[in-house]
């Protein structure tokens, strides 16, 4: 393409973007001035405070104003729907990666493109979807669940959101192919065959994501521990709030060392003094954060699973105190096991001994949590199998299969055989797709009337979405685990021909999951255009204390509202 046409095209594109940005700014500014006027009239100096008081306690539905208003629920909705957008993007990348492996030699895409998609799939799923949805649901559910006394951190949360979003977008634009654990010297190899030409932007983008996520978790921690209303003691707090407390503490305590590590890596790009002598030092710093982050993706989901189970069995949790205790124990132990990612890196026998043993004991809190959930089912007289409940039951099943595979991996003999193979990929896709994605979908369906201002989703489509996702993820993860155990290597654009049956059955599973998510997208659009028929009150906010039996009133939330427990 000659430079003249390049100039013309870039000129046209830039001017189009400029017009679009001006249009958005114009709309936001005019609306802002109108609201400022109204705020002025009703005696507020600051329009944000006016907006916050207007929307206080009312169910917040999705609209463009969510991007400008900075009350906690609007920011929650921003996080939730941005993480859902990234779920679709990274999911589409994942399914496309799977399809490209239909043949032992790379035929559909070149290995370089496959490696870029591989890195984007991992980073966007973990940082943008898993963490984004956890923070989003915290911002959206906690304000009314804990009946917050004040909500004055809007500007910081809004800043954290935009930094986090900028980080995600920059990372995608950087076309980095350094894998999500950024091992130097590969992450410093700025070539297409290495970490990508613009990988310095990729490393910088990861730092931005950390800044955004760190700020958000500090704010969530403050909301729960300080702004909570005085008549909710810690012993009566909803279990989801407890899960978010532990998630935030774990994030803050494990993200900081790596933020320094990524800054050092960024400096190494220009003057390699830190990590080229022994690259394993960065690997050690990274996995100190690397393992807690996978628990960050699961802990909020545990809290929400308790909410869904208690809602559809109408029984309190089997044991509230042991539920909270096990989530706390999970937070502590999860920061002691990260070394099992480096058992074969030659760091010594004591390293192997300590981290394999600690990795066995990290299974205890998860086992207690699963027991607690299933025991709640046993105490129920009637379990209403709605789609959210199906997702949560499948989450328990998948977490068991994935979790036990994880305990197997904690064993050095299995780790020697299966580290770096698809067995590990199968292990964590059981948990990520089963629990993180599954519980997010359950909560999305529960909150659908609140998001859409009173509309209900099409339950038949929702069931199809569930069955496709459950079957697809089971087939994909199991065929990976079997293939991986006999040596099928991970993250490869091509493979030995004898692994083709395992890869092809995993492709079938991946495509089934993809179809399931398309059904979900269609369901969102179709059901949003129906006439609002249902009370849009956020049903997750009513029962603040998940351990108070509402079995006496076998009524739904609407009746509970008249009953006075309006949660406002």
């Amino acid at each position: 393409m000659s430079t003249e046409s390049l100039l013309i095209i870039s000129g046209v594109v830039l001017s189009a973007v400029a017009i679009l940005v001006f249009l958005i700014y114009y709309l936001v500014a005019t609306k802002g001035s109108v609201v400022a006027e109204v705020a002025e009239k009703s005696g507020y100096q600051d329009k944000d405070v006016f907006i916050r008081d207007q929307t206080w306690g009312k169910p917040r539905y999705l609209s463009w104003s969510v991007l400008s208003a900075n009350d906690a629920k609007s920011i929650g909705l921003r996080y939730i729907f941005t993480s859902l957008l990234f779920l679709f993007l990274a999911g589409a990348i994942g399914v496309f990666m799977r399809i490209s492996l239909v043949d032992p030699n790379p035929t559909i895409i070149t290995p370089i493109v496959y490696n870029v998609l591989l890195t984007q799939h991992a980073v966007l799923m973990i940082y943008m979807f898993a963490l984004g949805s956890a923070i989003g649901l915290a911002y959206y559910l906690l304000p009314t669940e804990l009946r917050l006394k004040r909500d004055d951190l809007g500007r910081y949360s809004s800043f954290a959101y935009w930094v986090w979003l900028l980080g995600g977008v920059l990372f995608f634009i950087s076309q980095s192919s350094m894998r999500w654990y950024m091992y130097p010297p590969l992450s410093l190899q700025m070539q297409t065959y290495g970490a990508g030409l613009y990988n310095s932007v990729g490393i910088f983008a990861v730092e931005l994501i950390f800044i955004g996520v760190l700020m958000a978790s500090i704010i969530v921690l403050r909301i729960i521990l300080i702004d909570r209303s005085d008549d909710i003691p810690l012993s009566k707090m909803p279990i989801f709030a407890w899960a978010m407390v532990f998630t935030a503490i774990m994030l803050i305590s494990s993200a900081l060392p790596l933020m320094v590590g990524v800054a050092m890596l960024f400096y190494d790009v220009f003057n390699p003094i830190f990590f080229l002598k022994d690259p394993l030092t960065f690997a050690v710093i990274f996995w100190f954060w690397g393992h807690p982050v996978v628990y960050l993706a699961v802990l909020p989901a545990f809290g929400l699973m308790y909410d869904v189970i208690t809602r559809f069995t109408k029984r309190p949790m089997y044991s509230y105190s042991s539920g909270v205790f096990s989530l706390g124990l999970l937070m502590i132990l999860s920061e002691l096991v990260w070394g099992h990612h480096l058992l074969n890196s030659g760091l010594g026998i004591d390293w192997v001994l300590f981290f394999t043993t600690s990795s066995f004991f990290v299974a205890i809190p998860s086992a207690i949590t699963i027991f607690n959930m299933i025991a709640t089912l046993w105490t129920a007289k009637k379990i209403r199998i709605t789609t959210p409940m199906l997702f949560v039951l499948n989450a328990i099943l998948d977490f068991t299969l994935g979790g036990v595979a994880g305990v197997m991996l904690a064993n050095q003999s299995v780790n020697e055989i299966a580290h770096g193979t698809y067995f590990v990929t199968g292990h964590f896709h059981f948990i990520f797709v089963g629990v993180t994605l599954g519980v997010f979908m359950a909560i999305f369906y529960l909150l659908y009337p609140t998001f859409s201002h009173g509309r209900t989703y099409d339950t038949r489509l929702a069931r199809w979405h569930f069955y496709f996702t459950a079957v697809g993820s089971f087939l994909m993860s199991v065929s990976w685990e079997v293939g991986g155990f006999i040596g099928m290597p991970r993250a490869v654009a091509g493979y030995f021909p004898q692994f083709q049956p395992y890869q092809d059955s995993a492709i079938l599973g991946g495509v089934i999951i993809g179809i399931g998510q398309l059904i979900f997208l269609y369901n969102i659009a179709k059901s949003w255009s129906t006439v609002p028929t249902v009370d849009p009150s956020n049903i997750l906010e009513y029962r603040t204390e998940t351990n108070d039996p509402i079995e006496s009133s076998d009524l739904g939330p609407i009746a509970a509202k008249e009953e006075g427990g309006s949660g406002v």
Binding site: K381, I383, I396, T400, V404, I417, T459
Partner: protein, 82 residues
């Protein structure tokens, strides 16, 4: 409370049987695939752990599916069918 204990013990027995069967199947499969040192000793050491894992999976699945099948009610009409 009496029959729940009976149920749980029956689940336990079923899952232990599944574990033992898995132990022998794994033994046969590993002998085909693994050779030499550390291959053979590693697979022999991994065999009981994976078999116990499979037994634990079986027990948890039975433990969960029983109440779902027994108390589960499919109709989601009712007051709010979210």
């Amino acid at each position: 409370m009496q029959n729940i204990e009976k149920l749980i013990t029956s689940f336990l027995i079923i899952s232990i049987v599944i574990g033992i069967v898995a132990y022998f199947i794994l033994g046969f499969l590993f002998s085909l695939h693994f050779i030499g040192v550390p291959g053979v000793p590693a697979s022999q050491e991994a065999q009981p752990i994976i078999a116990t894992g499979i037994a634990a999976m079986a027990f948890t699945i039975l433990f969960m599916m029983y109440p779902v099948v027994k108390f589960g009610v499919k109709n989601d009409e009712g007051d709010d069918f979210r």
